[in-house]
């Protein structure tokens, strides 16, 4: 039992390398998604139908097709159109474009939620529309949607597991390959699951710290802070209560 775990852990450099690739390509996809989301949100709020329509089509097509299919298109179909992307490039593009559609709607909601009075006040102060957006609307909009945006980042990290289908050696795909070699299924996928948990929790923690530092007034943590020990204690207390009731 214990020997199985130590045997499965012999491949630790491979796991760590795969987790590192997962993190790198997820962050790259997130940057692309944010750029697309912001552009999309602006386009969807445009006065001109010719600008609004492509953004609407983008959101509807991408949100209503599976991301795995989009990965296949980016990797297997685009070469027919003369665009050849490496597995990692295709993966970043597919994930970025996919989450960009969701972020379009999230950013749009955030921008719409900024009270109209803010814009009116900016006009009174003779700020140009561009400066109004940059200094007044955008910071407040981002503050509104920051937790939702970080959720999308977690979605990207988890969604990157599908990239193993186009031969990207990320964490899940690597775990599958190691598993087919040593057949220690529970150990191998257990290690992968722990690495995903570490990856997402570290990313969320860093994002929370950034959120607290970047916004004025600071963004409150997404959930009440509780030490791990206190959390366990309260969970145990709840369990005892349930037992008593039963």
């Amino acid at each position: 039992m214990f020997a199985d775990w130590t045997y499965a852990l012999q491949d630790w450099p491979t796991y760590l390398g795969a987790a590192w690739l997962t993190l790198k390509l997820s962050l790259a996809a997130f940057v692309l998604a944010c750029a697309l989301g912001l552009l999309g949100a602006l386009a969807r709020r445009s006065r001109h139908a010719l600008v609004r329509a492509p953004a609407a089509v983008y959101v509807e097509v991408i949100r209503n097709t599976p991301v795995l299919l989009q990965m296949f298109v980016a990797y297997f179909a685009l070469p027919s159109a003369g665009l050849r992307l490496s597995p990692v490039q295709a993966g970043i593009a597919a994930l970025g474009v996919n989450v960009g559609a969701y972020l379009t709607e999230i950013f749009r909601a955030g921008i719409q939620a900024v009270p109209g009075g803010q814009r009116e006040a900016s006009r009174v102060l003779a700020l140009s529309p561009f400066r109004t957006f940059l200094h007044v609307v955008l910071p407040q909009a981002l503050r509104n949607v920051y937790p939702a945006v970080i959720n999308q980042l977690v979605q990207i990290i988890l969604g990157s597991s599908l990239l193993s289908a186009i031969s990207v050696p990320e964490l899940t795909g690597t775990a599958m390959v190691i598993n087919s070699r040593n057949l220690l299924t529970i150990q191998v996928f257990g290690i992968a699951a722990v690495l995903y948990l570490v990856l997402t929790n570290v990313v969320v923690l860093v994002a929370e710290l950034i959120g607290r530092a970047a916004f004025k007034p600071p963004l409150r943590p997404m959930r009440p802070r509780q030490s791990v020990l206190a959390g366990l204690r309260s969970a145990a207390r709840r369990l005892v209560l349930i037992r008593k009731e039963a």
Binding site: F76, S80, P87, S164, I166, S167, G173, V177
Partner: protein, 279 residues
């Protein structure tokens, strides 16, 4: 495709080992004369009943599948039909799976198994194998314009394999400079080569010949990256007359060119490897 099977086969082998023990005891206790044994041979039973029951795997094209009218078709099915014709009886194809091949024989549900059955010493403990009728290797498939002909040419090239197959390791061993891409299915690996995302792929030679037949822009190289696998007809143990007949028929089937013609029909090329191993 073959790589997922040995495990299942072993499971099946374990499950029938108890049966094996009982039948062995029965064989020891009865002392029959050669004449009566010949009477009891499957050969006699088949000719008397007028039907040859053959187990084939109908979910593994082009070896076995069903046509639009839901009738069995494929290379293995045609081999079974040729065998029945030589016996002067009708062939009854029984659909089976890799894991059920040995149990089917041990419980006398069928007279023979013609289903991509690779001969191994392990399996021969449970069933009797005829001489081989088809040979498989693991070969490279590349674009027709490609200059890749062997593992040596793969330095720095992208090579598609399937996750869990032994081919990835075989390629790395043969040429450490090859860049391995691991896909979930053989179909995805084929697509990667077709779309130029991979320079070559490694798979079962007969499967790849079939793919190359479907898509003329692809070609298959000759050298196998692993030892060749010999597929044979499986029959129950303890029936030398029946096995003897099958081997005699197979020799005719092979030397007359029927075998090569069938191979050409289903795989689009002439058989790649000789049926007799050369060491």
């Amino acid at each position: 495709m073959g790589r997922r099977r040995p495990h299942a086969r072993r499971m099946a082998a374990i499950s029938v080992s108890a049966l094996a023990a009982t039948s062995l005891l029965a064989a020891c206790s009865s002392s029959q004369s050669p004449a009566s044994r010949a009477q009891d041979s499957t050969l006699q039973k088949v000719t008397r009943s007028g039907t040859l029951r053959v187990a084939s795997c109908l979910t593994f094209p082009p070896f076995g599948s069903t046509d639009k009218a839901n009738k069995p078709q494929g290379f293995d099915v045609d081999v079974a039909k040729a065998m029945a014709k030589a016996l002067g009886v009708k062939a009854k194809i029984v659909d089976t799976t890799s894991a059920n091949r040995i149990p089917n024989l041990r419980t006398h549900k069928v007279d023979a198994v013609v289903c991509n059955f690779t001969t191994t010493a392990e399996r021969a403990k449970q069933v009797a194998f005829s001489d081989p009728y088809i040979v498989a290797g693991e070969v490279l498939m590349v674009k027709k314009s490609s200059a890749i002909a062997s593992l040596k040419d793969l330095s720095g090239k992208k090579v598609a394999v399937t996750k869990g197959s032994t081919n990835g390791a075989a390629v790395k061993e043969g040429n450490p400079k090859a860049r391995i891409q691991e896909y979930d299915t053989s179909a995805a690996a084929v697509l990667a080569v077709k779309q130029g995302q991979a320079d070559a792929m490694v798979e079962d030679s007969n499967f790849l010949n079939y793919q190359a037949k479907l898509d003329p822009s692809l070609k298959v190289t000759k050298g196998s990256v692993v030892p060749l696998e010999y597929n044979a007809i499986g029959v129950g143990q303890g029936d030398p007359d029946w096995l003897q007949w099958i081997n005699t028929w197979l020799r005719e089937f092979n030397t007359s060119g029927q075998s090569a013609a069938l191979y050409k029909k289903w795989f689009g090329v002439k058989p790649v490897y000789p049926l007799t191993p050369s060491y």
